[in-house]
Symmetry: C2
Subunit: 133 residues, 2 copies
Amino acid sequence: MNTNVRIPQFVGKECDMSNWDAGNCPVRDVINQISGKWSTLLLQALAGRPYRFGELRRLVPDISQRMLTQTLRELQRDGYIDREVFPTKPPSVEYRMTELGMSLFLPLSQVLDWAEANHAAVKAARVRFDAEA
Amino acid sequence: MNTNVRIPQFVGKECDMSNWDAGNCPVRDVINQISGKWSTLLLQALAGRPYRFGELRRLVPDISQRMLTQTLRELQRDGYIDREVFPTKPPSVEYRMTELGMSLFLPLSQVLDWAEANHAAVKAARVRFDAEA
DNA sequence: ATATGTCGCTCTCAAAAAGAGACTAGGGAT
DNA sequence: ATCCCTAGTCTCTTTTTGAGAGCGACATAT
């Protein structure tokens, strides 16, 4: 299990998985966070403008409060979004994207565009797969 | 729960989440698959060259056989990879990326590049966050 | 001849993660 | 007085993931 793993075609960006626990693989370390079920969706929303907690909740009706809080914390921890508390009554909290978050969203939005453009192809592939099985 | 949800800045690509079960949101439908913990990693590997099951297993030592099988099936179902069985003894199975998969990997690799380039910034953000908490 | 290893899985059981929803506090509106 | 608003947390249940055994047919090692 203590093998040194390099993905051949990515020489120069190889991932040493032997000390994977130490978080040595940049790609996995970063991707594993933003690849959460809700992360992309929230980044997409916050790329447009700042939102408050309740607004995000209404925007994504099928997210639980628990996961919304948790995902926002993780995005904040990784430096993609900022959290600002306004001590109004009732208190309000605003989430806004950081520079780092915006710089990530640039390439990320390309993938989102791809997803939209090729959704039909993917659905077709699924139908094909399910048919022959 | 039956609200019509549109992310304002993405007018024209709005997601109607009221029939989310029907899979009406292209972005979520596609992203939710490739955002699995292992999907990106396998796509990255297979973007380079075809691999056999056992090779992938050795390449990603901390994936369980169960998740490798499952993730490969999902990627195959969505049309990103092909699975070819060679009836040798013992049998061998080769996985290779499709045209669709390659077209996805184009924008996806931009995100992977970003991840590598900004890994330090993300780690720094984490340290900052954990310190002030 | 017998044991062990290879291959690509599937199956079971335990652990981790996610979803649903009740509960909090402090004030404003009805 | 009652209810609702805010942004959460806490608990309980369901789903997903992880660890690893088993399989069947053949090759190699002893």
